[in-house]
Symmetry: C2
Subunit: 160 residues, 2 copies
């Protein structure tokens, strides 16, 4: 009886500390949590520019690769083509990107950033750098390098 009562107390007591060692043993759990806060912080930081993470990363690739095709862009960002269309509609509507018919392959559009597209991209990059400086402050360069190496390694493991 007292055994039972003790067990119930132990089992049902509200606790402020929850044992999540079982989850913390997995890197995936740490990655999910870290990426989750990073994502929402970056989303908030970019919002004043009218950019979301997907439009922002698309814009960077277009600025850095003038004339890139929609399908190439989609492939590189792991975005399905139908979803890419919507993203580019948005970028084009804002006047940041132009679709131009390709003479040599009239199925494709070549993508170019406009002047204001390049300008907003620069602003976004500045914001993103500040955002990451904040989130990764206090870390040594060696730690950052290790992080990138590990993440790239993960990406590679599944490609095979």
């Amino acid at each position: 009886m007292s055994r039972n009562k003790a067990a119930v107390d132990e089992g049902t007591a509200a606790r402020s500390i929850v044992n999540d060692d079982g989850l913390r043993q997995f890197l995936g759990y740490h990655m999910k949590r870290a990426y989750s806060v990073l994502k929402s912080d970056l989303t908030k930081s970019l919002e004043p520019l009218g950019l979301r993470i997907t439009t922002y990363s698309s814009l960077i690739l277009i600025v850095d690769n003038p004339g890139i095709r929609q399908s190439e862009l989609a492939r590189n960002l792991d975005i399905e083509r139908p979803n890419m269309v919507v993203i580019l509609d948005e970028l084009e509507q804002r006047g940041w990107v132009n679709r131009e018919r390709v003479e040599s392959d009239r199925r494709s559009y070549a993508l170019f950033a406009t002047l204001s597209g390049r300008q907003v991209c620069e602003k976004a990059i500045t914001i993103d750098r500040a955002h990451e400086a904040r989130l990764f402050q206090g870390l040594k360069d060696a730690q950052i390098k290790t992080l990138i190496a590990v993440l790239n390694n993960v990406e590679r493991q599944v490609g095979e």
Copy 2:
């Protein structure tokens, strides 16, 4: 004119290699890509057990914290309470978790894993370990430790 032509060629040529240095400078981009492949790989690995990542992580916390309340669970996993209800409905329907009324606070349910709940959880953990061993193979312990430290640091930076 030839300048123009050259520029067009350069601009519109289909390319196999896309310059993503602009994106690769950001840790967030690496994290997104790495977590994306990790997530889809783990989802596939757990699917035969009838678990999704959310149900799986909820189950672990219930197994490790017998009697935990729904709201505590939701808070710890950053899941909104209404969404937690659906997850627990699923776990309960499968016979892996029981909701039990708490005598001392009849608003709450205390959550307990059943025997088969604990068994499927063990299987899932084994699968998850194999999945992570695969994804993080070839990495030194020191690198893993650094990764965890960095990720925890990110989590902490935004809490403030």
